[in-house]
């Protein structure tokens, strides 16, 4: 009887999970998706809990309470910290899978070795390797995003890095094969611990050469791994609901990774093993042109006289927490009859969709947020392109400088606007360490300073009524 309940619950939960994702196709229905997800989760948890083999209820209750105690504060982080929260949750997902896999192996070893069939052992080894590498890899990513002091922010590379990394993973896989073939040998337990250790190490090594601009792709890949480790857990526990939910998570991570890679014109292997940003420090191209600086008053005038203003935000806007000031500027301009749109590059920020969330937080209507592919056809009609803390995603060098690390990357055509205003914190080049000729174009005017302060000054210009 309880078995039938569990099966039925799993089917209902699966359907609800699929609906939850389906409703994410439109911001209008998306919140329904959360309700469906929560309902599915409750059904699945209760159906498992009522099974007769669960006897230590106190343990379950305690762990659930602890989950709430940590989970609720984690859901209240500022939105600029969402990338690191996401990475942290991938780490938790990986940890859970790794631990359950370990428990299942030693349980089988001491109680019922016949259960450790080749198929089940393969699933356990896959679960443990994926789980633990996702755990440490995601922790490292979260640390880099949070700018934890002892984790280097810049990509760290050394000669033979890829050989070392692949060697570590290959050793873990080889030991895995041995354990699958001889699950109960005298040394199998030690070999299993070694697999765990190597997976933990590989996760760290994998993220060391990754830099900030690669984070959207890397977080997506880790998302996929976390999903796959849940799938492997489903195989181990013979649980179809787990396999389905893990597969949904895994395919979501896969699609996002592909979109991020395309948006940078790079391949998976290139992201993971390419150490972007340290490879080439391209020498300054040709003659150095000079910046032209604009005053706040002049910039405000340009904006006010425009018909169409396209704002191009980048990670610099998030760092400066400038999104609320951007909203005030948006209000001032729309009040004066200027059309303001926001051009969102898929890899702007530190995770997929990062810019959209920050701008939505500042109450900018989502109808004003336009994807790169759509906005580019409007750029020639754009009077002012306002670049806020974005750099590589508007660098025209991506179109034709063949030896540039960003060559081939699709960009927002800011340079085609009649006038470009670029807010930049310093005169240093962007992440990829390359000059941005957009800034020295004839129609570009620079505003140097912290994005929040500069935009605040612009808003004040409008507010003081000095402009009419």
């Amino acid at each position: 009887m309880t078995h039938a309940v569990a099966q039925l619950a799993a089917i209902v939960a699966t359907a609800l999970f699929i609906f939850a994702l389906y409703w994410m196709n439109d911001p209008k229905t998306a919140r329904r998706g959360v309700v469906a997800g929560v309902a599915a989760m409750l059904i699945a948890v209760l159906a498992t809990w009522i099974q007769p083999e669960i006897v230590h209820h106190g343990w379950v209750v305690l762990a659930i309470i602890a989950g709430f105690v940590v989970g609720v504060p984690l859901s209240r982080v500022p939105l600029t910290a969402v990338p690191q929260r996401t990475a942290l949750s991938h780490a938790f997902g990986g940890l859970a899978a790794g631990l359950v896999g370990t428990a299942e192996y030693f349980l089988g070893l001491s109680h019922d070795p016949a259960q450790l069939t080749a198929f089940r052992m393969s699933a356990i080894v896959a679960e443990v390797i994926l789980g633990f590498l996702t755990f440490t890899g995601s922790l490292m990513a979260a640390g880099k995003l949070q700018e934890v002091r002892w984790i280097p922010q810049r990509p760290v590379t050394y000669p033979g890095q890829n050989v070392v990394n692949i060697g570590v993973l290959a050793t873990a896989a080889a030991l895995g094969v041995l354990v699958v073939v001889h699950p109960t040998a005298a040394w199998s337990g030690q070999a299993f611990y070694a697999i765990v250790g190597l997976a933990v190490l590989f996760g760290v090594l994998l993220i060391i050469p990754i830099g900030g601009a690669d984070m959207p792709t890397v977080i997506s890949i880790l998302n996929s791994y976390a999903g796959l480790s849940a799938v492997a857990m489903g195989f181990v526990l013979d649980n179809k609901l787990l396999v389905t939910a893990g597969a949904l998570d895994g395919s979501s991570g896969l699609i996002l990774s592909i979109i991020m890679c395309r948006a940078m014109n790079r391949s998976f292997t290139n992201v993971l093993f390419g150490a972007f940003g340290t490879v080439q420090q391209t020498t300054a191209v040709g003659e150095q042109k000079a910046w032209k600086q604009e005053t706040i008053e002049g910039a405000a005038q340009l904006l006010e006289q425009a018909r169409l203003v396209v704002v191009i935000p980048g990670y610099g806007m998030a760092v400066a927490q400038a999104q609320h000031k951007v909203r005030e500027l948006y209000d001032q301009l729309t009040k004066r009859g200027v059309t303001v749109k926001f051009a969102i590059h898929p890899v702007a920020g530190r995770m997929p969709g990062h810019m959209n969330v920050l701008l939505a937080e500042a109450d900018i209507p989502y109808t004003a947020l336009v994807e790169m592919d759509e906005i580019n056809s409007d750029m020639p009609q754009c009077d002012v392109a306002l670049v806020i803390g974005a750099n590589d995603v508007v660098n025209p060098a991506a179109r034709y400088v063949k030896d540039s690390p960003i060559y081939g990357m699709p960009i927002i055509d800011a340079d085609k606007a009649r006038t470009v205003l670029a807010i930049k914190r310093s005169k240093k080049p962007g992440f990829a360490g390359i000059d941005n000729e957009l800034y020295v174009q004839d129609n570009t005017w620079m505003l140097f300073g912290d994005a929040k302060a500069v935009i605040g000054d612009l808003v004040k210009q409008f507010g003081s009524g000095g402009l009419h």
Binding site: W49, S75, T86, A245
Partner: protein
Amino acid sequence: MIDPLVAAQAAPPDHAAVDYWSMLFVFVLATFIGLGVIRRVSRLLYTPLMSLTNAISAIAVVGSIVVAGAEYPLTIRIIGAVALFASMTNIVSGFLITDRMLKMFKKQ
């Protein structure tokens, strides 16, 4: 001629194998459904999508409940409880933050 007794003895591992095949089947189908559904997700919502799928894959909690709550040795149950805690954290923070972000997307 196949001895029926031998055939019967050979049956159980065979059953197990068949079951694994059906699991693989489920995995492949679910991946295709996932690819189909996720491709339609609004590009505005990629960040909440990631936190939502994260909460969903924390369905691993059902595995942890069994490991933590069944009649197993103490060390196993401790491992299970830690896994349960990790999954539960993802469920709680994942759904809450997804809803918090989705609330911010307004048309006007």
